[in-house]
Amino acid sequence: MIAWSRRRTLVAGIGLILAVNAVALAGVAYNRSGDPDSVLRLTQRELRPPYGWRSSAENSGVALTLHWRAPVEESADSRGWVSFGGGGSPAWLDKAKLASLGFETSPPKAAADGGRYYEKQLAREVLLVLELDGPAYRQSLERARQNAARAEASQAANAGNKDIERQAKLAKERATSEEREYTRLFAVDAGLDIGALRARYPDRARYAIVRGLVRPQLTSHDKEQRLSGYVSGLSVDQINLPVAFRQVVGYALQDNRAGRNNMPAPYEAEVAFGKRLEPWITAVSGKAGSQ
């Protein structure tokens, strides 16, 4: 190899740094150009600040975490099982949907153990549809209320039974949390073609299409193994909070310290998802006393 002169090195290095920055910023500009693909008005229920934000002296930046859920089956719902952002296995993510996402759903004859075959398929990046305050949330809320009502009736019929009393209390708390605290953002569909998904979910203020990760898994139901999918996360689940909006969220957190529950005081953030489906916060407003 031949050594370069200092001048040539300088030009090459500066050119490289500028080019890489230009490509990254051009991507950002493209994402934010024109009308966004969707704009959701999220609240403190869907956009959570990091734990101990104010106590971190080393990092002055703040990123809000996008909290979402996968709708669970009724049987799981009745047991009070709730999935949050860490992943979930929604009923709609079945074998056919997995096949449409590019996963191999029929093991070859050479693969004697089907389970191992599915396990070997790692997560793929696909397009996920996030629904805000839609049918999936209302169904979850309704089930929580029904569970609470059933548990209350059972408590009345079994007065003095401590276990049933405790279950009734938990069911009531869950229904309250479902009404006031839990995220209303649900992953309701997945696909590979943004046009087809948008045609199916045209409401851009309720449905956001984002990139997320899905992998197959084998689950057991009544001693029968079933292939299903698992949504393991979003490609971008942290949204930077611009300095201009920090005060609103900051006040909400201060209110929270003096508050009665673990939720931050109400705020509403307008989150846009651009042409590359990358999100950004366009506005934040406080909603004092409106919870």
């Binding site: 920055n21 997560a123 611009p242």
Partner: protein, 359 residues
Amino acid sequence: MTTLSRTEAQQRADEIRVFRRELDRLEREHILALTEEQRRAVAGHHDGLLARYTQAFDIDRDVQARQLSLGMRIASFLGALALAASVFFLFYQFWGLFAATTQVAVLLSASLGVFAATVWIQGKDASGYFTKLAAMVAFACFVLNIAMLGQIFNITPSDNALIAWAALALLLAYNCDLRLLLAAGILCIIAFVSARTGTWSGMYWLYFGERPENFFPAAAALFLVPQFIRHDRYAGFAAVYRVFGLLALFLPMLVLANWGQASYLYLDPKVIQGFYQILGFAGSAGAIWLGARRNWPEVLNTGVTFFVVFLYTKFFDWWWEIMPKYLFFLVLGLTAVLLLFVLRRMRTVAVKLFKGNKP
């Protein structure tokens, strides 16, 4: 003279020092006697060379200077790491207080400014220590620059960032003669090639580490780089490529030899483990042979290290539970002694071969 690199100048200076010591010994033992004129001519020639090298490259003229140099190398390495960490923490401490435009301006200016400063320092710093320090900080600034752009604008993570980091690391490594940055660049290349290999099977690129076989193409490519690109002017660069090539080959093999489930192969995990154990032994033995044959000590040493690790891992599997511990460690010790005998024998054979091949 002008085409000489610092490493070559240092090597010549070391040879002059050894020559002078041996000449002195030969004269004292009355085996060789130079005339006064000859001695003056040789000494004058060497002094002139050393003076020129010292002026041009700030080389170590004697053992004391060399020891000090080692200390300076360690100090510059630690200083570079500390400064790079300082840049990271400094930005994290204050970036949240600025608007996005200011954040981008600060990141870009830091990357450009420190890179330009590195090139400027290179022109002033004959020793190279300060250049290395600045180069490390320049690389850290660029990594921070791209990573923070992703964070500020919520950009979807992409493996393309790795290739940009690798490009700057290699640019700095080759122009500042810095093996540490070469290693950083090589690590970025390994990650990029492995991620691309993984995405061929459809997986999300960040999961490339979950299938160790993804590293094999990068391993082969790195090992072959010095075969196709000459590195005569860059002391130790070819060795760094070969060592990282072998690490990218043997470490995944070691993982697969103990955790067959991680493989792409649709076979019984025990069969996969056995396959990679055999491959690991054969590969490391092959590296020992190749290292001895081509006179690549780094290849030989890496091969020996992995051969021993593969062997000890098997011993652990077979005997840790059933053997008394004193016996287990005795077996390990005896194996090490046996390996020493084998390697000594190999060395003797290699010396004979070398003599036989000598014209």
